[in-house]
C-alpha cells in the first residue's frame, strides 16, 4: 500500500445529477474502489438488490439512507459521504437531482471546492445539467468537472464524448467557471473512475480519482483580504488570567500575523495584533480555515459580530445590500416588504425586503421582471435594508463575508440563502 509522509489535504466536492445519470453508482464505485465500503454495507445492498431481482448489485442503494427514500425510490436530502486515499480525504455532498434540486444543490455547493456534474453519454446535456452548472457558478465553486458517464453504452465513442464536451464548454463560457475539466467514464464498468481504461485509450486526460486527488485547491482561498469575524470573547476570569481577553474565531480570509496593524469594525479603532494562539500555543501566522484566538495590544470594546481587518483593506459596512437569493421554504414565499432575520458571518440582524428586482429562470437565464415573490427553489435579485450594517464583501470576491442565510422570525426556519452582489 502506498504511504505518504506528508499530511493529507481535505477536498469537499458536491455531486449533481439524477439517479438516471448513474450518480449513485459512481459514488458507490469511488467508495468501493478506494476500499471505503465495508463488507456489511455491501452485504446489505446485495441482499436488497437480489430480493428485488436486480441482475447486478445496485450500488445506488448505498446512498438511499432514509426509510421514506427507500419506499419512494427518491432521495430527499443532501447526504454526506467520506472516503480517503493516501493523498486526500474527501467529503462528498451528494445532492439529489430531481426534487428540491435547487435548495439541495445550493446547500451542497456552498462549501464545495469542486462540483461534479454528471451526464448520460446517450442523452448528452439536458436542462438539468445546465441548471446544475449555473448554480455551481452562482455559488462560486472554484472547480467544475463534467463527467460524461455510461460511455460503455455508446461504444466508448470519442466522437460522442467530444460533441458533449464542446457543447458544455460553449455553455460554460457564458458562466463564471474558473476551472473546467471534462472526463469520460463508465461508473458501472469502472472505466476511468479510479484507473484509466483501455476502452478509452483515445482519452489522454486523467481518471476521475486521479483528478480529484491532484486538482490544485490551495490557491482557491482568499489569502489577500484579512477578514476575522469575532465569534466569541474568551475571558477566563481566573487569577492566573486576570486581564486576559482573547478574540476567538475562524479566519475567513487573508493572513494575520502578530504585529500587524489592524482595524476593528464597526468601531473603526486601530491597534496591533499582540498574539495569535490556539490551545497548542502561539502561532506565527493564521489563515483560513484556522480557528484561533487573537489578542490585541490595546484594550478595546470588541464583541461577537465585530470584524478585524487591515486599515487599508476593509469590507464594506452596509445597510443597503443587493443580493441574489435562493428561496428554500415550501410554506411561504419571499415577498417585498416582509421582514426576516439574517445571519451573516457571526453577526445577526433583521432585514426588510425593499425591492424584488427580478426572478431568474435558471434554465434559460431569462429575467422575469417584477415578480410577485420567490417560491421554493426560485432565485431572484433583491435589495435589502438591514437594522445594523453588515461587514461584507461581494460574494464573488469572498465566499465567507459575501454569503448569508435568511431566517423566518416566526417559525425560525432557514428560508433562504443570499449572495451579496453589491453593497453600499
Amino acid at each position: 500500500m502506498e504511504t505518504v509522509t506528508e499530511p493529507t489535504e481535505l477536498l469537499r466536492f458536491a455531486t449533481a445529477g439524477s439517479v438516471d445519470d448513474g450518480k449513485s453508482t459512481l459514488i458507490g464505485r469511488l467508495l468501493y474502489d478506494t476500499k471505503t465500503l465495508f463488507d456489511d454495507q455491501l452485504a446489505a445492498v446485495e441482499a436488497v438488490s437480489s430480493a428485488r431481482g436486480d441482475d447486478y448489485t445496485d450500488l445506488a442503494l448505498l446512498t438511499d439512507g432514509l426509510r421514506a427514500e427507500r419506499e419512494q425510490g427518491i432521495t430527499i436530502d443532501v447526504a454526506y459521504r467520506y472516503f480517503a486515499t493516501p493523498r486526500r480525504k474527501f467529503i462528498i455532498a451528494d445532492t439529489p437531482g430531481h426534487i428540491q434540486y435547487t435548495r439541495n444543490m445550493v446547500t451542497g455547493a456552498s462549501t464545495a471546492d469542486l462540483a461534479l456534474i454528471l451526464v448520460d453519454a446517450r442523452k448528452g446535456l439536458v436542462e438539468q445539467s445546465r441548471r446544475h452548472a449555473f448554480l455551481c457558478s452562482l455559488l462560486r465553486v472554484p472547480h467544475m468537472v463534467l463527467v460524461v458517464n455510461k460511455m460503455d453504452l455508446v461504444d466508448y465513442s470519442q466522437e460522442v464524448f467530444e460533441r458533449i464536451a464542446a457543447e458544455f464548454t460553449a455553455f460554460a463560457t457564458k458562466l463564471d467557471v474558473p476551472d473546467l475539466t471534462i472526463l469520460p467514464v463508465s461508473a458501472l464498468r469502472g472505466d476511468n473512475v479510479v484507473e484509466r481504461s483501455p476502452n478509452l485509450s483515445w482519452f489522454e486526460g486523467p481518471s476521475l480519482l486521479h483528478h480529484l486527488e491532484r486538482v490544485h485547491i490551495a490557491s482557491d482561498r482568499n489569502l489577500v483580504d484579512v477578514r476575522f469575524p469575532v465569534q466569541y470573547v474568551i475571558r477566563p476570569q481566573s487569577n492566573k488570567y486576570r486581564d486576559y481577553r482573547g478574540y476567538a474565531g475562524q479566519v475567513a480570509s487573508g493572513v494575520l500575523k502578530p504585529g500587524d496593524e489592524v482595524m476593528v469594525l464597526p468601531s473603526g479603532f486601530t491597534t496591533t495584533i499582540a498574539s495569535i494562539s490556539t490551545a497548542d500555543g502561539e502561532v506565527a501566522e493564521a489563515y483560513p480555515p484556522m480557528s484561533v484566538t487573537v489578542r490585541l495590544t490595546d484594550e478595546l470594546d470588541v464583541s461577537r459580530g465585530d470584524l478585524i481587518c487591515r486599515p487599508n483593506n476593509r469590507p464594506v459596512a452596509a445597510q443597503d445590500v443587493d443580493a441574489m437569493i435562493c428561496w428554500m421554504d415550501e410554506k411561504t414565499p419571499l415577498q417585498r416588504g416582509r421582514k426576516y432575520a439574517i445571519k451573516h458571518t457571526t453577526r445577526s440582524a433583521r432585514t426588510i425586503v425593499k425591492e424584488l428586482q427580478y426572478r431568474l429562470d435558471i434554465n434559460t437565464l431569462h429575467r422575469d421582471e417584477a415578480p410577485d415573490g420567490l417560491a421554493l427553489n426560485e432565485i431572484g435579485r433583491v435589495r435589502l435594508r438591514t437594522t445594523v450594517p453588515l461587514l461584507c464583501d461581494e460574494y464573488r470576491r469572498n465566499r465567507s463575508t459575501g454569503g448569508f442565510i435568511v431566517i423566518d422570525e416566526a417559525t425560525n426556519r432557514t428560508v433562504g440563502a443570499g449572495i451579496i452582489v453589491e453593497a453600499g
Binding site: 499530511p7 454495507q41 438511499d64 432514509l66 430527499i76 488570567y241 476567538a248 465567507s400
Partner: protein, 311 residues
C-alpha cells in the same frame, strides 16, 4: 490508507492545512458558535472515544478558560467499570460539572420500564429527554459521525428537535457555508454534532496525534466472552451466558462503548493506538455493524430511534 495522520499544526505547503487540522478547526468553530448563541448547552459524555475526542476539542476551543458547560452521562446502569472509572477521573481532573441522567432512577420512578430483552438502549431516550427538560438544556453536543450509519449521513451539524425531542428528517434546516441557524422556541432544542465530518479513522489518528488517553477496554485484553449472533459479548454481572452458550477467554478490544448488554467486542491483538489504527484501516466491517446488537434489529433501526429522540 496508512499514514495520513499529520503532525500537529502541520502545514502541507504554502498556507495549506492538513485534513485533521481542518476538521479540528471546524469542530472548534462549532463549539464556540453554540456557546455564543445558546443559553444552556451540555455535552453528552458516554466515556466512549467519540465523546472523549469531543471533550478534548471543547477544552481546546475555550482555552485558557475552562469548558463553559456541564457534561451529561446517560447512565443505563449497564456500564463497563473501566469506563466509569475513566469518567470520574476526567471529571475530577478537569473540574467539570457532571449531570447523570440515570435509567435506574427512571425505572424506579416509573418513567420507563424494563424491556423484555433487558436491553436499555431504547429506554434511555425518555431518561435523556427528562433530564434535558429538568435542566432546561437548549443545545446538546453529541459525538455522532455521519460515516457511522446511513440515517446519520443526512444529519445536520445543528439538528433541530421539537419540544418532544423528536427528529424529523424531512423538516431539517438547510445548512449553508458555516452559517448555523441556532434559533429555537422555548422547549425546543438543537443536537449539535461537532464530529459530523470525522470518520472512525480520523478519530483514531487524532487520538494518536493528540495523545488522548482512553479507557483501557479500547485496547486488546483477555476477557471472558460468549458468542451470540456471531458477536463476542463480554460476560459481566449484566450479561450472563444463556443456555448452550460457552464462556471462553478471548483477546479482544472494543470498537465502540455503549450499554454493556448490547455492545460487543472484536477479536484483536492491538494494544497500542498505532496498532488500533492499523486494525481499523484494514477492517472490512463498519464499527456499528461489528459491535452493536441494537443496530441490527432492522435496516431502519437507527432512523427509528433518532426520530424518538435518541442521540
Amino acid at each position: 490508507m496508512s499514514g495520513p495522520a499529520g503532525q500537529k499544526g502541520s502545514i502541507v505547503g504554502d498556507y495549506r492545512v492538513s485534513h485533521l487540522d481542518a476538521l479540528e478547526a471546524e469542530s472548534v468553530f462549532v463549539f464556540r458558535e453554540v456557546v455564543a448563541e445558546f443559553d444552556r448547552p451540555v455535552l453528552l459524555f458516554s466515556g466512549g472515544k467519540d465523546s472523549i475526542v469531543m471533550l478534548h476539542l471543547a477544552l481546546k476551543a475555550f482555552a485558557p478558560a475552562p469548558v463553559p458547560f456541564p457534561v451529561m452521562h446517560v447512565d443505563t446502569g449497564h456500564n463497563f467499570a473501566e469506563v466509569m472509572d475513566y469518567r470520574d477521573r476526567k471529571v475530577a481532573e478537569l473540574g467539570l460539572s457532571l449531570v447523570v441522567a440515570s435509567v435506574e432512577e427512571g425505572l424506579a420512578s416509573g418513567l420507563v420500564s424494563e424491556q423484555p430483552d433487558g436491553v436499555r438502549n431504547r429506554i434511555q431516550t425518555p431518561v435523556l429527554l427528562d433530564a434535558v427538560e429538568k435542566h432546561r438544556f437548549d443545545a446538546l453536543f453529541g459525538g455522532a459521525r455521519r460515516d457511522e450509519e446511513k440515517a446519520r449521513a443526512k444529519e445536520r451539524m445543528f439538528s433541530f428537535r421539537d419540544e418532544f425531542g423528536q427528529w424529523d428528517p424531512k423538516n431539517q434546516r438547510p445548512e449553508l457555508w458555516s452559517l448555523y441557524n441556532s434559533r429555537v422556541h422555548a422547549g425546543e432544542s438543537i443536537r449539535v454534532f461537532p464530529l459530523s465530518n470525522w470518520t472512525e479513522l480520523d478519530i483514531w489518528h487524532y487520538i494518536a496525534r493528540e495523545k488522548i488517553d482512553l479507557p483501557s477496554i479500547y485496547f486488546a485484553h483477555d476477557r471472558e466472552v460468549v458468542e451470540r449472533d456471531g458477536m463476542l459479548y463480554g460476560v459481566t454481572e449484566h450479561l450472563q451466558p444463556r443456555d448452550g452458550e460457552a464462556v471462553r477467554v478471548e483477546r479482544v478490544r472494543y470498537r465502540t462503548v455503549g450499554d454493556a448488554t448490547c455492545t460487543a467486542a472484536v477479536a484483536s491483538d492491538a494494544v497500542t493506538v498505532e496498532a488500533v489504527i492499523a486494525d481499523v484501516a484494514s477492517t472490512r466491517i463498519t464499527e456499528r455493524g461489528a459491535t452493536r446488537g441494537d443496530d441490527r434489529v432492522s435496516e431502519a433501526a437507527m432512523e427509528d430511534r433518532k426520530r424518538e429522540g435518541y442521540f
